[in-house]
């Protein structure tokens, strides 16, 4: 039930915190965050984020909407769930980050970046074959940066690819597919329908 976020232009937005509390998956638990920093300290990839989850959550309270939604924090989250397991206040940090990423796409904040490109390739494979094909996901991801960059990245990682093939972690034949692709399609269509309906209500 995503309602439009208020005052898109303001650096500080008085209604943003309440909007996140109400609209972001897990946001209703965000009020319980006591800013202990255990999540940021536990995050294996925290150093790659421009703000750790703790700070991001405080920025939400401070109404720093633009900065929060254009942050790379949620894109770098690997969904390892360490923060969720450790948070003393049972804040579902990972869900919140995932949905913040979705909201940032929805509201046009997310610029194409490495993580969003990878997500796109991953999703393409999943919905097309019902499985992720390592070779095709990687190829699609590499070439999304252009042909030259695609070839370069491919060559750089050839050794790894070869090793994966030898150990059976990657194959060269037709992509593996699930049996009931029509069923998958129906599931995805239903999910899209629900999402559509909920966002209208």
């Amino acid at each position: 039930m995503t309602k439009p976020a208020p005052n898109t232009s303001e650096k500080y937005d008085l209604g943003f915190a309440n909007w996140v509390y109400e609209n972001v998956n897990g946001g209703d638990k965000l009020g319980l965050c006591m800013q202990c920093g255990v999540c940021s300290g536990s995050c294996p990839i925290g150093e790659q984020m421009d703000h750790g989850p703790r700070k991001l959550f405080m920025m939400i309270r401070a109404g720093m909407k633009d900065e929060v939604l254009s942050s790379n924090t949620m894109w770098n989250c690997t969904s390892c769930y360490r923060c969720v397991v450790r948070c003393p206040r049972s804040v579902p940090v990972t869900y919140i980050l995932q949905d913040l990423a979705a909201k940032s796409v929805e509201l046009g904040y997310a610029k194409p970046n490495e993580n969003s490109k990878f997500s796109n390739s991953f999703w393409w494979s999943a919905k097309t074959f019902g499985r992720t094909d390592e070779r095709l996901v990687t190829a699609k991801y590499y070439f999304s940066f252009g042909v030259v960059e695609g070839v370069k990245r491919g060559l750089d990682n050839l050794k790894i690819a070869w090793g994966m093939i030898k150990t059976g972690r990657m194959h060269l034949t037709m992509p593996h597919q699930i049996k009931d692709k029509a069923g998958l399609k129906a599931i995805l269509a239903k999910a899209a329908e629900i999402e559509e309906r909920e966002s209208k209500s």
Binding site: L14, G15, E22, G31, Q35, R54, K55, R61, A62
Partner: protein
């Protein structure tokens, strides 16, 4: 001085027999004090031991039992013989358990303990009570808010008549304004209905409660059990006899007009928490300025004026909970509202933490930081502690200042007392002021003035007709003086108990508890007055100070120094002790320059004789002697506990327990010096603003007196370091031995007192 027939009983149990030669001690009473009866026993506290003493009493052989065994603080039930005076010599905790066994010095110490007890007995009589007083059972309660209403009900339910006096035209006080109350019942989560209406109905329906609204107290005189209270009501005076008084005058909100730095006055939408209560009644919260727009963005600013040295230096304790309550009320009405609570520290003690969590779950937004500015354009800028940067909040609909509590320790409706009376008020509210010690050098030190604003403006509540002025003494922050560290209900006016926010900031639930406690104390005061016995801390003590009026020079030192205002003066200056106001601390005794105040079992000459009874070896023996006057409330128990823990201290020390350091007269100091003691130490409770003294000002008065002792010592050509004062609390048992040993070392380094042997 009736016929004293003392008997001495020495115990050999608990290690005493191993530590000292009790057989030697047994010879002392006869050889030095001509006391015929002296018996020993292996365990005096056993049935057989007790029977031994009892038989002598019953047989008429003795009428005073001197018991050399454990500390006087223990086995009091065993060694209690129907009012026969019992004098204890501490041979266990402070000899056997704190000195090496079998040593010559240990034996000398034990002998002196027995000598002191015998000297004490020679000046001890069974206290004769001050006779039964008039006994009025009515409890008067001043102030008809939550605290006063609860107090009236508690008193009535305990079988007493209650008179509830309220200055305004209706009961309920501030609580009438509150839309809801903070939770006080499990699970301490939800906002609760305001119960003040119910409480008022209950009070009004109770047959034993008389309510007087529109009534002001103009005069209070008398003492517990017989206060005479004059009240002005409807243009005429009414006089009531009252047994004890509970003061529940509550609080007033801090004057927000002083908070211009937080934007108060800059916009009608900047309001105080109290003002917001009026707007929260029912339905939506509308902006105050136009009454049209629903307030959606609301910022609460905590500690508005509180915890601010320029305004109220203390935490008002309730405003955090109130802002939580109010933001929850707003969120319940309108979930889309954004409530920001900007705090430096959010104080939610105990179960209030549950309430805080409820608000967090409800989406109230808590921000930790310091407010930098509040603008009439409805903006707040604060420095966020967790982001490390300034954060602006623009376009708010309302800004709520969580203002604090000012105690109604004065009556804002009346004028401050005239100069003469105020003099005592000012000295009384500042425990550090040298005030009350009329002084042994003859000058009265200037009272230290408090900044004007720490005394809430207004006149006295009860207008006490006491020598020490019309007020219940006030603490530095303006709250009524209560022994808030150890005995929170005790004021310094016996039989008058303060409770609720006039004593310290508190919420409704705490106030109700406080009221119940104060009523119990009031009832105790009435009963004790009837028995002629003391209330706290010498509960049940029948002794009281007696003045030798033939010797008294009417110098007024006793009337000025009594921490409880127990002594009034007659026209000609003759001091009159109101026994039921007296707490039996002996501060008056310590003050009297002609030492004509004494108790039946405690007097200047009694302790003087105890000092003289100690055997002081001459200078060639190289055994210095140090005397310690130890407060029996804290310092003496700390010493006992040190003994129980088998800590050892210098065997050259002799300890005399005193009721309060305030009772230590300079006579004892000079007697000790003249008797050849090398050092003197006063050990007692902390004095000052955060005093721990059980008699509140006693140790402060002693400190003040001792500050003058240097000159006396110099005039005797003695070193100033020979007399010291040490603050020891009951928790200091681990360090008290070190304190003694350090002093003993200092004294050991000095030449012996040249007065030895004179």
């Amino acid at each position: 001085m009736s016929d004293r027939k003392p008997g001495v009983y020495l115990c050999k149990g608990c290690g005493i027999g191993e530590a000292v030669d009790v057989g030697e001690l047994e010879k002392l009473p006869a050889s030095e004090f001509k006391i015929g009866t002296c018996k020993t026993h292996d365990a005096l506290c056993s049935d057989e031991g007790v029977a031994l003493i009892k038989a002598d009493i019953d047989g008429g052989d003795i009428n005073q039992a001197i018991i050399g065994a454990c500390s006087h603080r223990v086995m009091t039930d065993k060694f209690s013989f129907n009012g026969t005076p019992v004098i204890r010599a501490n041979l266990r905790e402070q000899v056997a358990w704190s000195q090496p066994a079998g040593e010559e010095d240990t034996q000398m110490l034990a002998a002196d303990q027995v000598r002191m007890a015998m000297a004490q007995a020679s000046k001890t009589d069974a206290p004769s009570s001050s006779a039964v007083q008039e006994l009025v059972q009515t409890v008067m309660i001043v102030g008809g808010g939550i605290t006063g209403l609860t107090a009236a009900l508690e008193a009535a339910k305990s079988g007493h008549k209650a008179l509830l006096v309220e200055r305004s035209d209706k009961l309920g006080g501030w609580a009438n304004k509150w839309s809801k109350r903070m939770p006080h019942l499990p699970p301490y989560r939800g906002v609760e209905e305001n119960h003040v209406g119910k409480l008022i109905a209950e009070v009004e329906a109770h047959g034993d409660i008389t309510v007087m609204t529109d009534t002001m107290i103009t005069k209070t005189s008398g003492a517990p059990g017989k206060f005479e209270v004059t009240m002005a009501h409807g243009g005429s005076d009414k006089i009531e006899m009252i047994g004890a008084i509970v003061v529940a005058t509550g609080w007033r909100p801090y004057d927000a007009s002083k908070l211009t730095h937080l934007g108060y006055g800059a916009s009608p939408d900047i309001v105080t928490g109290v003002e917001l209560e009026d707007m929260l009644g029912d339905g939506k919260l509308m902006r105050k300025s136009d009454g049209q727009k629903e307030a959606k963005y609301i910022a609460f600013i905590q500690c508005a004026g509180s915890r601010d040295p320029d305004h109220l230096p203390y935490c008002s304790s309730v405003c955090c909970g109130v802002s939580i309550k109010q933001s929850l009320q707003i969120k319940r009405e309108n979930p889309d509202a954004s409530c920001y609570v900007i705090f430096d520290e959010l104080r939610t003690p105990g179960t209030a933490e549950e309430f805080y969590r409820e608000a967090q779950e409800a989406g109230v937004i808590f921000m930790k930081g310091k407010v930098k500015s509040v603008g009439g354009d409805m903006s707040v800028v604060y420095e966020d502690d967790l982001l490390g940067q300034e954060v602006p909040l623009n376009g708010l609909d309302m800004i709520v200042l969580a203002t604090g509590m000012v105690p109604n320790s004065t009556n804002p409706d009346t004028e401050a007392a005239e100069e003469e009376m105020n003099k005592y008020l000012i000295s009384d509210i500042n425990p550090a002021a040298g005030v009350s010690v009329a002084g042994y050098t003859g000058d009265t030190p200037d009272p230290v003035k408090r900044p004007e604003e720490s005394i809430p403006p207004g006149g006295s509540i009860l207008n006490l007709q006491y020598r020490q002025g019309p007020h219940i003494p006030i603490l530095a922050d303006g709250f009524s003086d209560s022994h808030y560290i150890c005995f929170p209900y005790e004021t310094r006016r016996t039989g008058i108990y303060t409770c609720g926010p006039v004593r310290r900031p508190m919420d409704m639930a705490e106030s109700a508890d406080d009221a119940a406690g104060a009523v119990l104390k009031a009832i105790q005061a009435i009963r004790s007055a009837g028995e002629g016995a003391s209330v706290h801390p010498r509960t049940g003590d029948l002794s009281f100070p007696k003045i030798g009026h033939d010797i008294c020079t009417k110098c007024r030192r006793c009337t000025v120094e009594c921490p409880f205002g127990a002594i009034d003066e007659e026209e000609d200056g003759k001091p009159v002790i109101n026994e039921s106001r007296c707490r039996r601390c002996g501060t008056c005794m310590g003050a009297c320059p002609v030492r004509t105040i004494s108790f039946d079992n405690y007097s200047p000459s009694m302790v003087g004789d105890m000092i003289k009874a100690i055997d002081v070896p001459d200078e060639f023996e190289e055994k210095p002697r140090i005397i310690i006057f130890a407060c029996e409330n804290d310092a003496y128990p700390a010493l006992d506990m040190a003994g129980i823990n088998r800590q050892q201290w210098s065997a050259y020390v002799r300890v005399i327990p005193v009721r309060c350091l305030g009772s230590v007269t300079m006579l004892w100091v000079s007697t000790a010096l003249e008797s050849g003691f090398d050092g003197i130490m006063l050990m007692g409770c902390k004095s000052g603003d955060d005093y721990q003294c059980h008699f509140i000002k006693g140790s402060g008065i002693a400190k003040e007196r001792m500050s003058k002792v240097g000159a006396t010592l110099k005039s005797m050509a003695l070193e100033e370091e020979r007399v010291q004062m040490e603050e020891v609390s009951i928790a200091d048992s681990h360090s008290v031995a070190k304190v003694i040993n350090k002093f003993a070392a200092t004294i050991g380094d000095m030449d012996p007192n040249p007065f030895k042997g004179f």
